[in-house]
Symmetry: C2
Subunit: 237 residues, 2 copies
Amino acid sequence: MSVTSASHRARDRVRREMTGEILSVARQHLARDGAAALSLRSIARDLGLAPSALYRYFEGRAALLSALILASYESLAEWAEAAAERAARLGGSDAARFTVVPQAIRSWALERPHEWGLLFGTPVPGYQAPEGTVVSYTRIAAATVRPVAEASAAGRLEAPERPTPVPEALAGAVAPIGEALFPDLATDAVVRVVRGWTTMIGAISLEVFGHWRGALLDPTLFFERTIADIGDAIGLR
Amino acid sequence: MSVTSASHRARDRVRREMTGEILSVARQHLARDGAAALSLRSIARDLGLAPSALYRYFEGRAALLSALILASYESLAEWAEAAAERAARLGGSDAARFTVVPQAIRSWALERPHEWGLLFGTPVPGYQAPEGTVVSYTRIAAATVRPVAEASAAGRLEAPERPTPVPEALAGAVAPIGEALFPDLATDAVVRVVRGWTTMIGAISLEVFGHWRGALLDPTLFFERTIADIGDAIGLR
DNA sequence: TGTACATCAGTGAACGCGCGTTCACTGATGTAC
DNA sequence: TGTACATCAGTGAACGCGCGTTCACTGATGTAC
């Protein structure tokens, strides 16, 4: 019986490895041809398999695409959380620690532009993103704002020079975000954080999708400055 | 001879109309199926034409896609410039006038999410954007920052409370943008403007691509506040 | 330990489909004299 | 004004292609007794 389950586990392992290989080849094809052109037959060809063999691992093209998206979300979530851990151990100012995760997210995106497109680019039409992506999305956001939450909890978040009151309607609109990420943060800080997130995603997308070409000569420098300014605007010192 | 050229002109007009109809149907298909799935045959079918007829108007699928992208850029450029004209005639504070164009761009995007995806989403792989897009891109940016340029020229741009010096390297990196849009603006203001642009594009993309779902309950309110804060950060009062 | 059975990864042929592009053509409209 | 010719939008058949998915199958590996 112990032998039995050992074999069973071995078979499971082989299966997981094969699934991983399929996803890996699929990712290469994604990079070359884009999500809409993803083809089971050509993936099978690259793996030296009959097309029908893939149906042992995925129910069909849609399921494969779904798994691909989910895996990319999880990959970025883990990457961001690892960076957040590093930042937490870093010591240094709140402002300095805040820059770590955005830099990591940008690096991830620059190395995998097509996966970034899967997460933050044009949605694949007629295709509903899988459920699990919400969890990963939240993990990514939480890792990014973790230094803010910590500074806030420790009472180290500086108030803005010219505070502008947040209308009740806007406060309500960002309430789900505030509750999910940091229950104790003042509403106007939540608004600044969401704006910071917006700027970060925008900066990475503009760079990854090629919109700085010829205009902004050093995206790295600009990104660093931008993240520093966001931290500053949020009140991190 | 006057008759001749009148006929000639009539024939040209018909040709332009037909070209427009093809692009219009193509746009509908783009909305339904995405850029990668754009099909000459299905467009021809919708127009009641033989597939080969489209080759009288476009050299092939790639040329049609190219024309579609170019047309969307031009559409947004015209829309943004019209809004800028309206804003210029508006009177009111610099800050108030600054909000007009971003709101217009957002409206354009929300009504044509797929065209927004064409301009600012995942690039279609293996497909090089047509030359002319750069011109339109510049027109859109110029329309957006026009109130900044005017306020600056009139000496009404307020200095930031806590000015942070711009390192020389970053100044060089944004130089092409500064020179193209407002030759007289201080470098640190240019940096803030580029960051504002980044935030605006990011906010619209996150909304259009469906990333606020369940998190940010009122994107309109958030966008308005965001644009107001950007204007404020740039120094418009 | 040996044998009969179950599981399951992978095969390979076949299906029906929609695609982009080509080509020789028709026929209406415009042009030249 | 009438006639011969040129232009050009649109036709329809044909090409070769790659696709997703299905199905009955083989054969290796694991399981039960």
